[in-house]
Symmetry: C2
Subunit: 377 residues, 2 copies
């Protein structure tokens, strides 16, 4: 795609959160202009770029050139790739790197990477000097449509995923859709699970469009930009109404309660299961569990599973290779999930495609029976 | 003092921050009723009590009994006393303790201790599950009049003090003025420096009252409660207008820019200098530097120094025992202080008692000359 076409295929989603509002700019090739965009939003700021070794190999030079061209001084802090970097140890490393660079509150931390780098760098920027400026340049589909909207940041604990963090909104998100061409097909599919999630939460028309358009989205071009933009808009609409997850925002956890339990069960081993795959299985489980509770039709659950399977995503616990713990243990992982409230199990269930809702007081016994019925043979 | 007199000598300061508003209850003996007070504000919450070994010896049993009487389940997390506990290592320890107790967002972290415990427990409560409820029971004068108002939490870095943290407001502060009887005279005096600070910032009448009443405040009784309440109200008024320190709140740093540099210079060795003593010296330096710059009268600087010296506080760099680094090094500590903005030196200076202001672009050369003129002989 040439520069002109790129400019024509560029769009901006505004996240409206009062004085914490910011733009998500989406389009192919826009990383090359990142320095100028940043300097317009944060004139005079110096930058600490946080990235991982894999992403640095693909995109760091482009970003450094863009920052140099705009006269934005910068230091680079590199962490190892993978979920294990969301730890206290690496948090301290990033925080120390930012302080060693003598950045002040008015300067900026840039996250160049996927969800792990975004969560880690965002958390660090939220606690250095009690909150510095933060700019996200998400390089995975998952990060572009999920982590880049809503300000959740954090690290993992031995007690569970994302249990430690802050809400800290970025000042700007630059989502270069062409960067996704460097993803493996498996990584792209995993991110696609979160795209489909927005249709399943409250936009049945979007889910219908995805069923028709998914191959164009995977191929790149205008359909990809549209899918990212509609996902970001969908999440922004929810976050604007409930920034700190006191209610509706929990809908974004569709598929995540089952999903997190499966990630814990596989020890966050990305060879066996990555986050988007866990969400894919979790969303199908949420629809099938809803059907079992007579809340939704079996047809809708089958339609969800058929689409996710068509794009190549796992949809059943039995799709996970290797041993898994027994159902009681899985239930205990679900109960430690942070969306538990006062011991009652809270799930996102559904009345059908695009009709998800927050179900409180779901009986643990029903969940256990469902898990047992679905035990891989 | 009997219970009845205690009840009559009890007062509440309201900190008005919209949905983050909270009460500071002040009076002698009110720790014994802490469980009921907490349960009224946070019904059904379980608690993690964070304290240090010294404070635990004096007050933990009283708090545990109060919680038991109110049916508030609780776990206790104890850290070593002293500034060194404001570290990543102890932060992780407290966070792990809260998660191991399986507390949820609707539960509560209680800080029972001085400024160190408040800053550490407050930070932990601000990042577990991206923000849990927090209640402060400050046990030092410094914590009752300073740390308990305004929601600043944090730990130290090798790069400087309080450089890592979040803004996280408590739901309730219980300031039992009788607990201060367990402080050493030196600890009480150090806290008193922050009381005097409120007069020096913008309340000359309060400073005048302190000059007359300080012995009653040290002795306990109604004057002590009044001094604590007026200090909290004074800080609350400023914080309500500027919660996140984008402007006026910086006035609360009167004496702190010089003070932090001296704390760094003495390696946070409490045998040589504690925070309130550093603030005392820093406030006198701020007044004398202001007089040197022809911003305030020498008489006012002398009056400030005379009062602080009368209560037994250090007022000069020469009051610090042992070797200190040279003036260039002290200046470099000042320049790393987080109140630096884009390389310019920002100080809180004054036009006289109760007339402090934020001075930006203070020439580093003038500060250096002032430090050299005051070199201990």
């Amino acid at each position: 795609m040439n520069e002109q076409a790129a400019a024509g295929n560029q769009t901006t989603v505004k996240v409206g959160l009062g004085e914490r509002s910011y733009d998500i700019v989406i389009g192919p090739g826009i990383l090359r202009d990142a320095g100028n965009r940043l300097a317009r939003v944060l004139p005079g700021a110096r930058a600490a770029v946080v990235t991982d070794e894999t992403v640095a190999g693909f995109h760091l030079d482009t970003l450094k050139t863009a920052l140099d061209n705009a006269g934005v001084g910068h230091e680079v802090i590199t962490v190892p790739p993978g979920e294990k970097s969301k730890s206290f140890e690496h948090l301290q490393e990033v925080v120390d790197g930012i302080l060693a660079a003598r950045l002040e509150r008015a300067d900026v931390v840039i996250a160049l990477g996927g969800g792990v780098v975004g969560d880690l760098a965002g958390f660090a920027s939220g606690i250095v000097r009690r909150g510095m400026n933060f700019v996200q340049i998400p390089t995975s589909l998952l990060a572009q449509v999920d982590s880049s909207v809503g300000g959740k940041t954090g690290i993992n604990s031995t007690h569970g995923k994302n249990l430690i963090g802050v809400f800290h909104q970025p000042k700007l998100v630059i989502a270069d859709s062409a960067l996704l061409d460097t993803l493996t097909p498996r990584e792209f599919r995993a991110g696609y699970a979160e795209v489909a999630k927005y249709g399943l939460i409250n936009q049945p028309d979007f889910f219908g469009w995805l069923e028709k358009s998914w191959e164009d989205i995977f191929a790149g071009g205008p359909a990809r930009v549209e899918a990212i933009a509609r996902s970001c808009q969908s999440k922004a609409d929810i976050v604007e109404r409930d920034e700190r997850e006191s209610g509706e925002r929990a809908l974004l956890n569709l598929g995540h309660t089952f999903g997190h339990a499966l990630e814990t069960a596989t020890g966050y081993d990305s060879k066996r299961l990555v986050h988007g795959e866990a969400v894919s299985i979790g969303m199908v489980m949420a629809h099938r569990f809803s059907a079992r509770m007579n809340l939704a039709s079996v047809d809708d659950a089958q339609r969800v599973e058929a689409h996710l399977r068509e794009v190549g995503l796992p949809t059943r616990v039995s799709d996970i290779r290797g041993e898994l713990p027994d159902e009681e243990t899985l239930l205990s992982y679900i109960a430690q999930d942070k969306k538990v409230s006062r011991g009652a199990l809270t799930f996102i269930l559904t009345n059908g495609i695009g009709r998800s809702f927050i179900a409180r007081d779901v009986p643990a016994s029903e969940v256990l029976s469902f898990l047992r019925e679905n035990r891989p043979q």
